[in-house]
Amino acid sequence: VAFPAPLLPGALSTVLLVALIAAVAVGAGMVGALLGLGGGLFMVPALVVLFGLDIHLAIAASLVSVVATSSGSATTYVHEGLSDLRLAMFLEVATVIGGIAGAVVTVTVLAHRSDLLVLAFVPVVVAAAVLMFRSRREDVRREAPRDRVAERLGLRGSYYDERLGRVVVYRASRTGAGLAVSAVAGVVSGLLGIGGGTFKVPAMNSFMNIPIRVATATSNFMIGVTAAAGAVVYALSGQVAVSVTAPVALGMLAGTTLGARWHRFASFGQLKIGFGAILVVAAAVMVLRGAGVIA
């Protein structure tokens, strides 16, 4: 598959270009770690708009980097016991299938449809905003129906909430809806090179009755395998621009490490405001690009 030659500014030296890409990736990774969405929602438009990269290559670079982002910050979350590993391994069944399917579609059916891939970002951003405001008022915690699958698999747990100053106990509900949303999140991940936490975190929170901090940490942990499933398809079929992907991965990894360190200090309000800010930026970028205001 041949992609159109990207329009990178030829005057920039390699060092400056690599440093610029890495710097943008640091910012994307930092926000992604704080919000559990992996930074890809910001990274892909940035590579396309700021660096003129073909969106296929931006998606592949972002997806590879999301593996680093997830794995890097997951070590912190898992270490602190915030990630629910059982819940993650249950939902990964759906996200991995979706991730592979999404990547295959981008590499084959949409191999020459950069326009459709750009457009596909808009509903994703809108859906992310809607989901965020839907779950804005409460951090779950209402009565949820008992779920036989969740009980059979022991999908429940507890964590110590520093801000509440007590142990919060939770029990997973509506595993069917959880699997469905995870599959969709996987498809979007492989298709567009984002983490998919945008969809999983609010869904795990409002459908499955998982506290938002556990949902964020668990989603982040799952994203590593989900993105890897898609990234394998891009990398092994030769759709990864290695000189672009390397600084993106290292930059997002550095940003994630910083973001994960700040995660515990961020309040719910700050998390949501941060989420909102990134969505506004992403939406503005895509609309301006769609309207031809920016190249």
């Binding site: 059982r86 022991g154 395998v225 394998v232 621009a241 991965a249």
Partner: protein
Amino acid sequence: VSPAEEPGTPGAESSPPRGRDEAVALPASLRTAIVWTLRAGVGLSAGILAVGLIDLAVRGGFSATASGQRVDWSALANGFAVFSPPTVLLVGILVLILTPVLRVILSFALFARQRDGAFAALTLFVLLMLIGSVLIGVTL
């Protein structure tokens, strides 16, 4: 010891199913093994990518294109041996991508050893899907 390590605080939920609490509490060994696998894999790939980028900056050869070719494994080994920057970077990327796969293999092994049939089956399924993605990647 952090209170977060103690699962199943009583009284907060109505009638928790009995007899499964030892299954709900994941073994500390799995958590530790996962953390170290991820750290080692990400650290190794970050090191390879950093060396490759320095080499790229020194020798040049930045390219904002993809090869469009399937990975040629013997060429990959040769390129890494002679330290060709694009090959070194590709190896770093592949190490990164394989890190979560290693984590799934590890989880499967630990669940199987624990005789946790349901989760051994779930992780094995995920592993088979990942192997499937490798097969798809090398055929596309």
